[in-house]
């Protein structure tokens, strides 16, 4: 009871315009606030082609043993947020299995913990999520029931380590309604991001989605938000005709900036949106560079995941492994250079794997050569197969906008028969077997 009164009191202090001196603010901050995190994990991620065909983008494997969503989930628990909702929609099966009851993140709790929120049928306009804001709106009761003061809204498909507690403190200090995390990007990249223009107090004055002009500054929206729950609920409930509430980036954020109490929280550190095949591959290769700044072995900021119990990786006497990440359960008898091997990958004697990402339990046959390939789980690459072969860089003919840089992608469970040669920018869909490979050669740019 007393606690509730204190909380209400604190809440009134934090209203903009409250007359309050600095000392009082500091002591008011001692009262705990209830924070919930909502992770948007419903997106299809079409630009990741077959990697996200059978799973939602946030559950795409990354750095061998992790999945992309492990990063925001671990950031939550490492920041002390143990009330987490994951909003799913597109092919949630693999993510549901991955998150389960939240055990790996200590989110299997009797009070709070992790909750998966899927679209449901209701008596009003509940249906499939039409956009990010609509997804949160349809689950507005979650925010109400958890009696949240603050909502941390996150995207499930970014790779980064961030202490949300510091951002929340920033939010409280500014008595903001909404705080948007931003990072500096190169001036010539600003047209890929939503750019925020701020005044000298970090208050956001303008938001421009993918600006053509270079005069809006270089602070890019990272898609990480802290909302006052009351303001968020009010804005979402108040939507309707002429005031749409489908998408945060398009509708909610711009209109809240108009109300003038939005701040930008500057983030410095590693952050990447692995939304395309190219950026997925580049980010994976970055991990192998000794100078990369995403330290996965930091004991103070562990990235948690659901690990299967596997034996240590076994490196055969003839193996050569350099510049690579190798997970438990791998058996390496061939040559691996600058590659990421997920748990349970088998590399036969004489096989060569270069500049590639190979996912769980894939089998690479004797003498096979892989060059700049992303191979999904449970693939069988027959003996002597050449995958990613030759200098022909013709872009993929079906997905010309996605596969142009020479990366060949093999979908989950495909079986590539022995002796075949496959070029670059090739897309091999999931579950293809011998019958789908009538010829001994698949030229660059083709799709199987």
């Amino acid at each position: 009871m007393l606690y509730d009164i204190k909380r209400k009191l604190w809440y009134s202090f934090c209203r903009p315009g409250s007359l309050l001196n600095g000392v009082l603010i500091a002591s008011a901050l001692e009262v705990p606030v209830r924070v919930v995190a909502m992770i948007l994990a419903g997106g299809e991620g079409t630009r990741l082609t077959v990697l996200s065909e059978k799973r939602a983008k946030p559950s795409v494997p990354f750095a061998g043993k992790f999945r992309i969503i492990d990063f925001p989930l671990s950031n939550c628990v490492n920041s002390g947020i143990f009330d987490v909702a994951v909003l799913t929609q597109y092919r949630p099966h693999s993510m549901n299995a991955h998150i389960g009851n939240g055990k790996p993140w200590d989110l299997d709790r009797s009070n709070g913990g992790v909750q998966l929120l899927q679209p449901y049928q209701g008596r009003r306009d509940e249906s499939w999520y039409k956009g990010t804001a609509d997804a949160v709106y349809q689950n507005i009761n979650y925010i109400r029931e958890r009696r949240a003061d603050l909502v941390v809204l996150l995207s499930g498909d970014h790779i980064y380590k961030m202490d949300y507690a510091a951002m929340i403190e920033f939010h409280q200090r500014n008595r903001a309604e909404l705080t948007v995390a931003v990072m500096n990007v190169a001036l010539d990249e600003t047209d890929r991001f939503g750019i925020l223009t701020v005044d000298e107090h970090d208050r956001v004055v303008e938001f421009t989605e993918k600006p053509k002009n270079r005069d809006k500054g270089t602070l890019a929206n990272m898609g990480i938000y802290v909302f006052n729950a009351e303001a968020l609920v009010a804005r979402l409930s108040g939507g309707g005709e002429g005031n749409p509430r489908i998408d945060f980036g398009k509708h909610i954020i711009p209109s809240m900036i108009g109300d003038g109490n939005v701040f930008a929280y500057p983030f410095e550190g590693y952050w990447v949106d692995v939304g395309t095949i190219q950026s997925y591959w580049e980010t994976s290769m970055d991990l192998l560079d000794p100078s990369n700044t995403l330290n996965l072995s930091d004991p103070n900021w562990v990235i948690h995941t659901r690990s299967e119990e596997r034996a240590p990786a076994k490196i055969g006497p003839q193996a050569r492994v350099t510049r690579s990440m190798v997970c438990n359960g791998c058996v390496v008898r061939g040559t691996v250079d600058r590659s990421v091997l997920s748990p349970g990958v088998y590399i036969s004697p004489g096989a060569i794997v270069r500049d590639s990402v190979v996912m769980n339990d894939t089998w690479i046959g004797p003498g096979a050569v892989l060059d700049k390939v992303i191979v999904d789980k449970n693939v069988i690459v027959g003996a002597g197969v050449r995958l990613g072969y030759g200098d022909d860089m013709s872009p993929n003919r079906q997905q010309g906008d996605k596969l142009t840089t020479g990366i060949t992608v093999v979908g989950k469970g495909a079986h590539i028969p022995a002796g075949i040669t496959i070029g670059r920018n090739v897309l091999i869909n999931a579950d293809r077997d011998e019958d789908h490979f009538p010829k001994d050669e698949i030229k660059s740019g083709e799709t199987v």
Binding site: S297, A311, M325, C327
Partner: protein
């Protein structure tokens, strides 16, 4: 299968493991990089469908207790049954440390009595093996035995290390000799016994023998119905430094007798969350086991590398076992060594150096094959030269070494 309570004996001191058991019980000694020895017995239990397990501890139990926790890793965090850690305690009549495995069982008679079980399966916490206990328990039930002993054939040269049984053609045991000098049989007791619960309670309350193999079994063979169950698979008692080293090295061959990759018989352990092993541009890795979280930029051959081990550029590790979070700095050479957890080897240090194979002066029987042991958290200063059969005790600081930084073969460093 009868209702079964498994009791794992994990209290022993095992002095023959030297520095490995200086700060932990044998059951908690790391094995194959990421496992601990007790994981094999615990995983055998759950893989055999036994979810009612007690672990009996006494000697330095902290790391074992922490490892087992509530048993989550083995799905033994259950409402009915599950894993219980049973430690010696004081009673109104005083109390005493347990003097042997039978004594340990006797101290837990009340726990056995309360447990809703037909059979008490007594297991050793310090053996490496994968065994389905169900056939043995079925045999025990079919033959209506008082005791069923698991037996394994051993080489005639090794019989003096084991309890040796003589098995009649009908499968009953007619003789049990504990560590005999000379014997005709080569069937060794594996230290795995299935007891009818009422029978176990009776013999423990009526007698006062402290050790099952030494005091109880030879006498009981004559009086009761004891049956042998022969186990064929891989089984190793890693109770000495040499046996421990060899069992680890045996995992590095092409097709090891102990298959850790079997998806139908997973060995579970409490894994820390670590990222994938990172192998750097200068690394050479050949014939190893590498665990998640290790970072290698040196040359590593025929070695077992545990989680979090860092091997810097130019360092060479050969035929060695390196335990968790040990750091080997640039240019150091490690040859035929066992380095415990959290050891730091300074740049350019040579550990296991030279041809001099003088046995260890303090324990010549134990350390005479050239293995050098470095205890937990020890620091070896940069540029040191350490011979063979050397023991560096846990937490020895770099200041303990004299100015020459040389430790000849056979020495022991630290009190």
């Amino acid at each position: 299968m009868p209702r079964t309570l498994a009791l794992i004996l994990a209290g022993g001191e095992s002095p023959a493991l030297s520095i490995l058991t200086a700060l932990r019980s044998e059951a908690a000694v790391p094995f194959a990089g990421k496992f601990r020895i007790v994981d094999f017995t615990l995983s055998n239990c759950v893989n055999s469908g036994i979810y009612n397990v007690g672990v009996l501890t006494q000697y330095r139990p902290r790391s074992l207790h922490e490892h087992i926790g509530v048993g989550k890793s083995w799905d033994l965090d259950r409402r009915i049954g599950g894993v219980r850690v049973l430690h010696p305690y004081l009673t109104a009549e005083g109390g005493d440390w347990q003097k042997g495995n039978a004594d340990a069982l006797r101290a837990n008679l009340d726990f056995i009595a309360e447990s809703p079980t037909d059979v008490v399966l007594v297991l050793a916490g310090d053996h490496i093996y994968k065994m389905d206990y169900r056939p043995m328990l079925r045999l025990h039930e079919e033959r209506d035995a008082d005791i069923t002993v698991a037996v394994h054939s051993v080489s005639p040269h090794e019989t003096h290390r084991f309890g040796i049984v003589t098995v009649e053609p009908d499968g009953t045991v007619s003789q049990f000799e504990e560590k005999p000098r000379r014997t005709r049989s080569t069937m060794a007791s594996m230290g795995i016994y299935a007891f009818r619960k009422s029978f176990l309670t009776e013999i423990l309350t009526s007698g006062n023998g402290t050790n099952i193999g030494r005091d109880l079994m030879p006498r009981l063979i004559k009086q009761t119905h004891v049956v042998a169950h022969q186990f064929q698979g891989y089984w190793a008692d890693v109770g000495t430094v040499q046996a421990y080293y060899e069992a680890n090295m045996a995992l590095l061959v092409e097709t090891p007798a102990l298959d850790l990759f079997d998806p139908d018989w997973v060995i579970h352990t409490k894994s820390e969350e670590r990222p994938a092993a990172e192998i750097g541009p200068q690394a050479r890795v050949e014939g190893n086991l590498l665990c998640d979280g290790c970072r290698i930029n040196g040359s590593v051959t025929r070695s077992v590398i545990s989680p979090g081990v860092v091997i810097a550029e130019g360092a060479i590790v050969r035929d060695s076992i390196i335990l968790t979070d040990t750091v080997i700095e640039a240019g150091a050479v490690i040859d035929r060594c066992i380095l415990d957890k959290g050891v730091r080897v300074g740049a350019g240090a040579l550990v296991g150096d030279g041809e001099d194979n003088t046995p260890n002066q303090q324990s010549p029987d134990l350390l005479n094959t050239g293995l050098t042991l470095v205890g937990r958290g020890a620091e070896i200063p940069a540029g040191a030269t350490i011979g063979r059969n050397v023991v560096i005790r846990p937490r020895v600081g770099s200041k303990t070494f004299d100015k020459t930084l040389a430790v000849p073969s056979g020495r022991t460093v630290g009190g």
